[in-house]
């Protein structure tokens, strides 16, 4: 049998049910794997003591016959979710020492369903980045390397720590958040599955806010089945989030029928972005062929405003961020840098507390919202957003799901793109439209690049139709049989 930390969520769940091992044994295996992988820098905090306590409690519940959806399963939490009593940093210097006195709804749901918390994962500061290089706690390393090349690759971002931890078999599942691609892009770069649910599916309460109209929490795991299991435990209505949707959570695992006959899959020509490498285009063609072989109808669709999603995003997201991040003032929590008066205290705290990319986005956001510019920028961007959502609405009148690549390239090396913000932003060109329209999107590993690095395909679906997205993703996963595991060079 595989080492316990290498089991998928479904395998571990079934093993626990059969009594092959206990949650304590499973948790110990994950903690040991985390310890041996310090070099990946995937975690900001490892909560070993809490994990073992939670695992013991889970084993006791199992003996008593009360079992939650993810009973006894080890989960890592992106360091953007407030966990009571555990440092919650958003990987920013400005949240130094902050320990929430409350629990985010998503993590509360996970623990209620029996999840065991392994620790908090590293990420781009305030989830702003696509390479995990903006973290105050240093970059995360991708467990994948180019053959014959030891240079560290980025895991993508912003949920890069969660992606690395899952890809390296340190934990079977982790939470992420996705504002413009922060679950799907790192999932693609590390060869795992990542799902951004429909806006409103998972509560945002207790998640450090970046751009409130775009942020959405979702699962990261190694199989589509695992993503379905984890989403089922994370999702649900929450009265504390005014945009949380009051709708029942289906059994997503039941959607994985392996049968896509009768489904119509749209292929948007506009996603063939300029300069897309031939291998990405070929992977996309392969994905189309797999779905056709399994009996789906494939049809060309038009999403004419696609190219404007990314520039519109870089108005909406910084604008909302500049507003959300106004709360970090050095007065109520986190870092305080002294000043002669209150204004200087604010200015010094925020200058030292925020990193370069966060400062850049706050300034852009402040500018586009400032007097005289609101209509030209923010209003215009929200109008473009209406057009993007309208494109999808029209497309979904004739198709059940949409298939695209997740990213325009495979993972790149650290430092390679840091100097050019726009080149970095272009990572998200294929993922951002789903956030702008609020629709669900899944990245599923579908193959490898000519350099041997994982590549992902993206499935987009109708609002609240995660079930169809997972079903289509599952079929691609089965056809690709891309059981992608990096060589464990990092083990110490």
């Amino acid at each position: 049998m595989a080492a316990l930390n290498e089991l998928t969520l479904a395998e571990a769940r079934d093993g626990l049910r059969r009594g092959d091992f206990t949650s304590v044994e499973l948790t110990q295996a994950c903690l040991a794997a985390v310890e041996a992988a310090r070099g990946l820098n995937a975690f900001t905090t490892v909560t070993s003591g809490r994990a073992l306590t939670m695992a013991r409690e889970s084993d006791a519940r199992r003996r008593a016959g009360t079992i939650g959806k993810i009973e006894g399963l080890p989960i890592a939490v992106k360091d953007l979710f407030a966990v009571q009593g555990v440092p919650t940093t958003a990987c920013s210097h400005i949240l130094d020492g902050f320990k929430p006195t409350y629990e985010s709804t998503v993590t509360a749901n996970l623990w209620r369903e029996g999840g065991v918390m392994i620790g908090k994962t590293n990420m781009d500061e305030f989830a702003m980045g696509s390479s995990n290089e903006t973290s105050h706690y240093g970059p995360v390393v991708n467990p994948w390397r180019r053959p014959g090349d030891n240079r560290p690759l980025v895991p993508g971002g912003s949920s890069g720590g969660s992606a690395s931890a899952v890809a390296a078999r340190l934990v079977p599942g982790a939470t992420g958040t996705d504002t413009g691609g922060s679950i799907r892009q790192p999932a693609a770069f590390t060869g795992i599955v990542g799902l951004k649910p429909t806006y409103g599916r998972c509560s945002r309460w207790g998640i450090v806010a970046f751009a409130s109209s775009l942020d959405q929490a979702g699962p990261m795991a190694r199989t589509v089945r695992d993503a379905a299991i984890l989403l089922g435990a994370m999702a649900g209505f929450d009265g504390k989030d005014s945009t949380s949707v009051e709708a029942p959570v289906p059994d997503y695992e039941q959607a994985l029928t392996g049968d896509v006959r009768g489904l119509t899959i749209g292929i948007p020509a506009e996603y063939r972005v300029e300069g897309m490498p031939a291998e990405i285009a070929a992977l996309w063609e392969q994905g189309i062929a797999w779905l056709e072989q399994h009996g789906a109808q494939v049809t060309e669709i038009r999403l004419p405003h696609t190219k404007y999603a990314l520039p519109a995003y870089y108005i909406v997201a910084p604008a909302e961020a500049s507003s959300n991040l106004a709360r970090y003032d050095g007065v109520r929590f986190g870092l305080r840098v002294a000043g002669e008066n209150l204004d200087q205290l604010y200015e010094n705290t925020r200058a030292q507390g925020f990193g370069r990319e966060v400062r850049r986005r706050i300034l852009i956001g402040t500018y586009v919202l400032s007097a005289g510019y609101y209509d030209a920028y923010y209003l215009k961007a929200q109008q473009v957003r209406t057009l993007i959502a309208e494109d999808f609405r029209k497309a979904f009148a004739t198709v059940d799901a949409i298939l695209t690549p997740t990213t325009p390239t495979a993972a790149f090396a650290q430092q390679e793109r840091l100097s050019d913000p726009i080149a970095m932003y272009l990572n998200d060109v294929l993922t951002v439209p789903a956030n702008m329209a609020g629709i669900p999107g899944l990245s599923v590993p579908a193959g490898v690049s000519k350099e041997g690095l994982p590549l992902g395909l993206q499935v987009l679906g109708k609002p609240f139709d995660e079930a169809t997205v997972l079903r289509v993703g599952h079929t691609i996963e089965q056809a690709a049989r891309a059981s992608l595991a990096p060589t464990p060079w990092w083990r110490s």
């Binding site: 109209s213 986190g334 850049r360 609020g438």
Partner: protein, 95 residues
Amino acid sequence: MSLDKATVARIAKLARIAVPESELESLAGELSGILTWIEQLNEVNTSGVEPMTSAVAMTLRMREDRVTDGGDPEKVLANAPERTDTFFVVPKVVE
């Protein structure tokens, strides 16, 4: 759109972020680059288009107007960098 140093200084002041004089020039360049790239949105005809106000079609819920939480100053102050009794402490603001 090209931002000059004075505009960057004004935005930084609005955002309450101290930016040293020596960094204004390079920051103006970076921000101008991003804003120029964003201006491709001007190609889109948006006349008569309603701006999006909600990412998914929903009506915001109403709830009874009553207190549901609070009354726990110790929790609120637990992370305060500086406090006295049940107050946050800041530099003097009123002369």
